[in-house]
Subunit: 385 residues, 4 copies
């Protein structure tokens, strides 16, 4: 990336995070209701900390650390960068205040602007680019974490009118057939990608068909009404335990009120739209639904090969592939190497992008990953057979 | 209480709660770091809800409930008043905002003022008085919960300069001897008391001696340095488990920094003052310390009989009495009856009052109670033999 | 006790433990289904270890320890006697086998017989007496633990025909009235008692009435049918949590089969006998039942004073007294001092004796104690008012 | 399989289970020290229940169920065959006794012999074959569960002299290179295989090298001494949590005694043999070790293609493949379909066979699978690069 364009990109990405938070009340920035949901205040500070720690401290001459305590408070999981607060304790840290976090952002942005004005060190530019993609990842988490915080408030407050992100509908139908053969997968273009997409390689695919449409709420309601949540034969063993331990009987955010299914959206509580794409389901639910349909989920490589002919991008689509390294994958040394590789166990791949994904942050080789039980992201189902 | 004085009392008590919260940032009102610590926002709303639910709804003609959701959100443990949010979830409820809670207080205060102007229904007056004492109890919790929230922040923020509540020192020394005999205990005066103090009755006390001074930090440091936390012979069995599970090796809020013991105070982190009264210890620690001194804790009745000749009131003093009903104790019917009686199991009595107790909220028959492991209150030790 | 009678007592008590185990299969000696139930094999070994550790090692010249590993395996909670296996792990220790444990008993019995032949050291005699009472305590635990193991087997196996210990019925009815005044309580006779009974002292009792009969199954069924388990107003707060967490809706061992209440007895599964004394209820249930009857449980001192005029001894009777030290209580130094004092927190006193109590092991000053939730002992209810 | 040979196979497999248990004491048959280890008694009964439930009940005319309770007690995880005891409760079920379980085996064996004498129904024959392979799987579990039970006894009892299963050494060294290309994998021969091996298909492999030898104890000790368990950069994130939560610092069964590493073997406690193949390590440890060696674990398909030129069979070898379905995998309807498919989430594939694998129960397409943290099987490491 060129210096001029990266400076623009920097400003645009950084502003977008604050735009997402604009409708919040100060109180909304604070809590961490479950360990996997971070306080919005923390996201804003942590993405800033990334630029300060990996770029300003190393590349801006005479840079003075803004506040030494922030390294302790806003490190996420980088063991190489010193002690960090317990991930489960973030919601109890009321100071620095939200206002102080915004001041921290401004300070770092000013210094970054000074640095970017004349930056041509390729290593630094690469890190800035990584920092921006990192912040975009946190932007999607900001959206889904805000939804979690507001959506679990018994008052179901509106985030911002007109922000209903669930009403996407399919534009196509039927199945796409892909021929058997050897295919190339993985990232092999110019431009940015994460390290887990590298190692472009060949895979052998057997003939398969993949749906052009995502599963709708209406289809999923049929599954529910057919007793899908009660029939253990449809479920993976761990999925069946999950259903029973948590008494799951619908997607996340769904509530049956006077016999009618509603769901919480960023526009508040609404009646479930039968034509909209299903969202907020776990891999376990995706797998059980596919079993009920006597189909299956695609693998990540089937998805990647088919993607060029699919309309994708409203939901993260669960695949039946585990998150594992590509041939030749190696971790970068030091803290940046902790980015992806160490999570390659017990998580499933999602492909595509969602209504919560930041502009410019999607590509068909992108490998998103979550645990099979998680469903606070905008997750959906595309069937294969 | 007379109408005029209760109106004054109402205003004064209600203002005191807001005074306690004045130094807080908005963020500080939100979290519930552990189940027993409630968000300041919640305390302010809950004590208001008490007046609305038990008084305005019943005694102010045509009173309209301010917000029906508030009953759900701000009920604490009154099963008789409908469903309540899980006690462990209070820290995730960001709406209503702090500002909205203050508006709720103003609304209820205006309506109470209207009601109190001419109130002479004795049942209502009794309930108002109960509501004020209830709010005073929450005021002490506000102080200790704020201390917990700020004191567990890695930055150790100052609550308010000049509010160091730990530096109290003893004014007397030596032991007071009380003769064997039959004594009267329990509340038998005019004025207000809680139902658990009623049932004034006789007890037989054997001769005993009770210390005129509370244990100081210096004395407790001797216990620590003598290996008190490592010697199982000093501890109750459950206390020994507690020490080991939580790796306890000092009172709450103590931190050893470069070999010197500090503690968090509402004035920030300070060196431990050896002459100050010890604070923030559990019953388990109080009991082990007494065992080490080859003495014991007094019973609640020994304390009550001795109190008239003691200087008490800077620390809640652990007694060796369990929280159990007095002869003839009966629960009031309905929600108000849930106030005390249902907690009469597995808790220990504390007598006295502390630097966090609201003005006018202490008397020698007052029975405070907490679980043996709890120590976020201003708890101290008075020895007997 | 004289040497001749203690030798007889020793033989008789030791044989009684083996008599209790006679109907068991080898497999029944092994498991520990919950932490508070110990394997029968462990009880047999632990009570033997007590004699070896505290008596043979100290008083039999040239005594060689039978197996050094046994100290590690069969110590219960004596921190002073070295490391012990985790209390929760006892059920996994398959070796030494049951047969080897019986061999260990024989060895220790032979050595004890040799010692007792001419023992006149008063300290040793005191310890032997303590050891026998200790073994008798484990005999009652043997009975209740065996009942737990067999009673939680889906096949409900019979322990021994004719051993139904639940069918006791009342011989008296009505209430006994006791006058207000100062009374003497605690152990003040000759003979054996535990240290927690010492410190005979005076108490002041207000007038009260106490039932001559224990609560029957029929009376308890009325409580159940009146919705006692569903009415939170009857329960202590911790009791209500216990009921809901464990979905409790009847005493332990009760099963509703085709609409008829049955219970597991040592004779196998039987229909509930309405006239028999209620058994296997927690303090929480006892307290809720008393509340429903608009009465209360007696205190331990009320019980002790009334006992001389009561027919007691089929059920351990929950009192409303917490397990706390008597005036002047002190712990013996060393391991024997760990016997009682360290448990004086968060437990409730039971008075009387039960059908599972060994012959000669009851007196009216005996202070039994268990946690409020426990109910695998033969516990019952006597009301007071 | 022909009738004559299946009858022989039946007798031989069934006897082998009893041979494994021959050295046990009755007590050893009972406990379930952790949920994943079942009581030997349970294995003997469950594998018998399989034949009774799926074969005798369906194919032997007029067969009377031996004991209806056994269906309840000895079902493992087949939801289709009715209620089952909680997997975590098996160790508390002392009845039926071990003797009664052997009687049950004899009864079923007699009936199976009668049936097999003239059985020619192909569906039944297939089920018998499945039952035998099922019993062989339980035979390996019997060996590893017995090792767990005895190996966690503080006395480290010997299972059977001469049964040290850990001393296997490598016969080859160096690396085998495999060329890039399309390969056939999965089961495509005659004879028995499990459903998860079916769906023979093509995969594309890139060039790789695979070690001819398994990692030895000596090599692993180097990793330990180099601080492998302390360097978070080597570990998967979940692996690092696992190491810290359980304070793991060596393979399972290793004990440092007076500075010398020992391990528990079926021959009792022995010094670690440096030349023997490493055993009893989790996937997390295998992955960290490979990272330390700057190599990796092979995928299951790399392993399968290389296997024809490898000496394998002393350890189950962790691969870096997740347990997922092959193309075209479908679950059989009903209970038999619960055999494999429902476990295809969050488990890793192991290939090969071990010293605990029953004779005749291994093939190069066999897909064994366990959770990444488990290590009570005879697991080892083969490196790739």
């Amino acid at each position: 990336m060129k210096t001029s364009s990266i400076r623009e990109a920097y400003n645009s990405v950084r502003k977008y995070s604050e735009l997402i938070c604009a409708p919040l009340e100060t109180e909304d920035y604070v809590p961490q209701p479950v360990p996997f949901v971070s306080p919005p205040k923390w996201h804003l500070a942590h993405s800033t900390w990334f630029f300060e720690t990996f770029i300003l401290k190393n590349f801006l001459p005479n840079y003075q650390v803004y506040d030494p305590d922030f390294n302790y408070l806003f490190n996420s999981y980088y063991n190489n960068v010193g002690e960090r607060t317990l991930r489960t304790d973030r919601g109890n840290v009321t100071r620095p205040t939200t206002k102080a976090v915004y001041a921290y952002r401004q300070h770092v942005d000013r210094c970054m602007d000074e640095l970017l004005e004349k930056l041509d060190d390729p290593q630094a530019l690469t890190l800035v680019e990584l920092g921006l993609h990192h912040e975009q990842q946190h932007q999607e988490l900001l959206v889904t974490d805000i939804k979690y915080i507001l959506g679990h408030n018994p008052l179901f407050p509106v985030y911002k009118s007109g922000h209903n992100l669930v009403d996407s509908t399919n534009t196509e139908s039927g199945f796409l057939k892909i021929q058997e053969g050897v295919y190339d997968v993985g990232f092999a273009s110019d431009g940015f990608c994460f390290d887990n997409e590298l190692g472009a390689h060949k895979v052998y695919l057997h003939e398969f068909e993949i749906s052009k449409a995502l599963v709708t709420n209406e289809e999923y309601l049929e599954f529910m009404e057919a007793g899908g949540y009660q029939d253990f034969n449809l479920w993976l063993d761990e999925g069946w335990s999950w259903v029973n331990e948590h008494a799951v009987n619908s997607p996340m955010y769904w509530h049956k009120i006077n016999g009618v299914w509603h769901y919480y959206t960023l526009d508040g509580l609404q009646k479930v739209n039968p034509n909209a794409m299903l969202s907020h389901i776990s891999f376990f639910e995706a797998s059980a639904f596919a079993q009920w349909k006597q189909m299956r989920l695609p693998t990540e490589f089937e998805w990647e090969i088919a993607a060029v002919n699919l309309d994708w991008g409203k939901r993260w689509e669960w695949t039946n592939s585990a998150y594992l390294p590509y041939p030749g994958f190696t971790k970068a040394p030091g803290a940046v190497g902790e980015y992806n590789g160490k999570f390659m166990i017990n998580q499933m791949i999602l492909r595509g992008a969602s209504v919560g994904t930041s502009p410019g942050h999607s590509r068909k080789t992108y490998r998103n990953f979550f645990h099979a039980r998680e469903r606070w992201q905008f997750t959906g189902i595309r069937l294969a057979k």
